[in-house]
């Protein structure tokens, strides 16, 4: 646009800037070429598989066909059948993910605040705490979840203590309950909440807090009017990074749950795919999961999204 406007002006100006413009345009094209591998990757490894998934979700099993044999069709009823059977599981997955996200936020925000703001002057301590925050990633996700199984087991310290103080009935248990699954989700996704908030709070200008104090705001008001709004984009990123994977997770549900009251949608997709060998059903559920998450995220962004993310 701008080049054309320039071009219509006097010849002298046009000639002088032509070289620059060409160079600039070339530069622009280089940028486009650099994006190309990424775009091809996206098309090949995301768009195409999603299309295959969509197509597969409409396949049908011809009468008398062997298990695992399906033919292309437009069997939209696959969706109806799966949704009818598994809508409670889908709702439960979102519900568990939501609770885990809120818990992770309540636990994670103070952690991030402590490291990013309170300990800003204490380099060593801050560094140690940061490492501790990331440390869980150094060991396997599965092993850590297995460890939780031990911690929450009937003979374990927590279950025994809860029974001793009558918070848990004598014949009650923790593993294979929603409590265990939500606890596992919260634990496993906590770093995804803390790190974005930390990154955000780390840039918080503490002079603003002093200014707030100077203007007679008490600490609570300072927090709600200054700190929280300024860290909103971190909170926003953290909640998304926690909620999305948590909703599709099945490791926590299958290691700490494996009970009809704890089944999550990821487990059902796995079971439809590998146990029942119902590829269309598995594909339909995956697609429903993907679309529902997308819709929820769009609503969330519309409602709470900060400007940078829009």
């Amino acid at each position: 646009m701008s080049s054309r406007v320039l071009g219509r002006r006097g010849k002298k100006l046009d000639l002088r800037s032509a070289e620059e413009l060409r160079a600039e345009r070339r530069k622009g094209r280089t940028g486009q070429y650099l994006v190309l591998p990424g775009m091809i990757g996206l098309a090949l490894f995301f768009a195409l598989p999603v299309l295959v998934l969509l197509a597969m979700s409409l396949y049908t099993k011809p009468p008398g066909a062997e298990i695992g044999e399906f033919v292309p069709a437009l069997q939209f009823s696959n969706y109806a059948v799966m949704l009818e059977a598994y809508w409670p599981v889908l709702l439960r997955s979102f519900w568990f993910a939501l609770i885990a996200t809120v818990l992770a936020l309540l636990i994670g925000y103070p952690m991030a605040y402590l490291v990013a703001v309170r300990l800003r002057q204490h380099g060593l301590l801050k560094g140690i705490l940061l490492v501790l925050l990331i440390a869980p990633f150094f060991s396997s996700f599965i092993l850590r979840t297995q460890a939780w199984k031990q911690i929450l087991s009937d003979e374990g310290f927590i279950a025994q203590t809860l029974k001793a103080v009558s918070l848990l009935p004598a014949d009650g248990h923790l593993t294979a309950t929603p409590i265990a699954v939500v606890a596992g989700l919260t634990y496993n996704f906590l770093p995804f909440m803390v790190l974005p908030i930390y990154a955000n709070l780390d840039r918080l200008d503490t002079r603003l807090l002093e200014a707030s104090g100077d203007l007679y705001a008490n600490p609570v008001t300072t927090f709600t009017k200054v700190t929280l709004p300024l860290s909103a984009s971190g909170v926003f990123a953290g909640t998304l990074l926690t909620f999305i994977p948590a909703a599709g997770d099945y490791i926590n549900a299958s290691l700490l749950g494996n009970n009809r009251n704890t089944t999550m949608i990821g487990q059902v997709i796995d079971s439809r795919f590998f146990r029942v060998i119902d590829y269309p059903g598995a594909a339909a559920l995956s697609f429903v999961l993907m679309v529902s998450i997308l819709i929820l995220v769009i609503i969330y962004i519309r409602r709470f999204g900060t400007r940078e993310l829009m």
């Binding site: 598989p49 597969m56 066909a65 044999e69 396997s140």
Partner: protein, 409 residues
């Protein structure tokens, strides 16, 4: 099993847990994002669409290049071959490689019949090489593969030791005369309980519903194990003519005991961990698992076949249709049908040994195991176990769906 072996076993289990973890993590990714899934779907969907259901798919076996290519790929279940933790290898397999000059790529790829079938079905139906020349699958899955024409015919001339096969395994329903398959190991599905916590023990499946065991029961998530066990408990002849009504009655028992919290978990092989942590005190389990647990964790559990009978099953060697090293595979089968080798394997895996003469050979390896009915059962013990009748494809799908609906996944 000697102490050294027991320790080796323990290490083995740990490294196994790690492998499993990696695999499962990959599963999570594909399950959640549905991307890797889609890739698989593509291969599965376009695969077996040519013909439907009938016997013999018109596939022809791949050309055998064993004579010039001394290699072999073998896919097996976890903890299913003798392992030396010190040397980090499989002693009998090492011996075979040395003796035959065949380089064996051993992979513990099979975690469940269904999931493995899900992975290889697309290639099999197209007659392609699945990358393995030998797979080890359970009877009912072997039945499916043979019916579909997905496996190659064995040349018994290459397996002279096949004469050592237990007589009762020579003519199995799905493969009379053993032209397409050969038993690897057999085992039982039965009951086990924690001896200290539940001293009165179990005699039948219904004893699992004892109020004292509330919330402490685990049952297998394999429909092919749990449902026949429940039907047997109700007096159904599972090898005979049963149908929807009998199945529904057994399913109702399962439903009731899941709803009221008697059964805490329905899961696969990982139930072993729940036995160890004490979350599960009793359940429907596999025989070899309990023997191994007792070695590793101290003698805490007892396994039994119910008075109303338990299940006996076998895992079978099969050569996939696209495999190009059939003669090498046959040489390996022949090797493992040597009684001394078979005894060595049995001493480690603790499953029922299908090889005649292994019991005598066991005398030298571990005299204690010679009279173990779980490895070398007598006729009386074998009476306590049975197998269910063949299921048609549509019936199987229907029953599986009903089962999944009750267990909630």
């Amino acid at each position: 099993m000697t102490r050294k072996q027991a320790v080796a076993n323990q290490h083995r289990q740990l490294s196994l847990a790690l492998t499993e973890a990696r695999l499962s993590r990959r599963g999570v990714l594909s399950g959640a994002a549905g991307l890797a899934l889609a890739g698989l779907l593509a291969s599965c969907g376009t695969g077996g669409t040519g013909d439907t259901g009938s016997t013999g798919s018109g596939l022809s076996p791949a050309e055998d290049i064993s004579a010039t290519d001394k290699r072999l790929g073998w896919a097996n279940w976890t903890l299913y071959l003798d392992y030396d933790d010190q040397a980090k290898n499989y002693p009998t397999l090492e011996k075979f490689m040395e003796r035959s000059g065949i380089d064996v790529r051993y992979a513990e790829d099979i975690d469940s019949n269904d999931s493995y079938y899900g992975k290889i079905q697309g290639q099999l139906s197209a007659g392609q090489d699945i990358g393995q020349d030998l797979v080890t699958l359970t009877d009912w899955m072997s039945e499916r593969l043979i019916r579909r024409g997905y496996v190659q015919e064995l040349d018994h001339a290459n397996i002279p030791n096949i004469t050592n096969l237990l007589p009762e395994l020579k003519d199995v329903r799905f493969d009379p005369g053993r032209r397409h398959s050969l038993t690897w190991q057999s085992g039982y599905t039965g009951l086990a309980w924690n001896k200290k916590a539940f001293p009165k023990g179990l005699r039948n499946v219904e004893d699992l519903w004892d109020p004292q065991l509330k919330g402490r029961i685990t049952v297998l998530d394999e429909m092919r194990d749990t449902m026949p066990m429940l039907m047997l408990d109700q007096g159904v002849d599972i090898a005979g003519d049963w149908g929807q009504d009998e199945y529904a009655a057994a399913l109702e028992v399962l439903e009731r005991n899941i709803s009221n919290g008697q059964i805490r978990q329905v899961k696969g092989n990982s139930y072993k961990q729940d036995f160890v942590t004490g979350d599960a005190l009793a359940g429907i389990v596999y025989s070899g698992d309990i023997t191994q647990l007792n070695f590793e964790e101290g003698d805490q559990w007892e396994f039994t076949l119910p008075e109303r009978r338990g299940l006996i099953w076998s895992d079978n060697f099969l050569v996939p249709i696209g495999a190009r090293h059939k003669a090498n595979a046959e040489e390996l089968m022949n090797f493992y049908y040597d009684p001394e080798v078979a005894a060595e394997v049995a001493a480690y895996v603790n499953y029922l040994c299908p090889v005649v003469g292994a019991q005598e050979a066991m005398e030298k390896i571990d005299p204690e195991l010679v009279d173990d009915p779980l490895i070398f059962p007598d006729a009386e013990f074998l009476e306590k176990a049975t197998t269910e009748r063949e299921l048609s494809v549509d019936e199987e799908t229907d029953l599986q769906n009903q089962f999944q609906a009750v267990i909630g996944v």
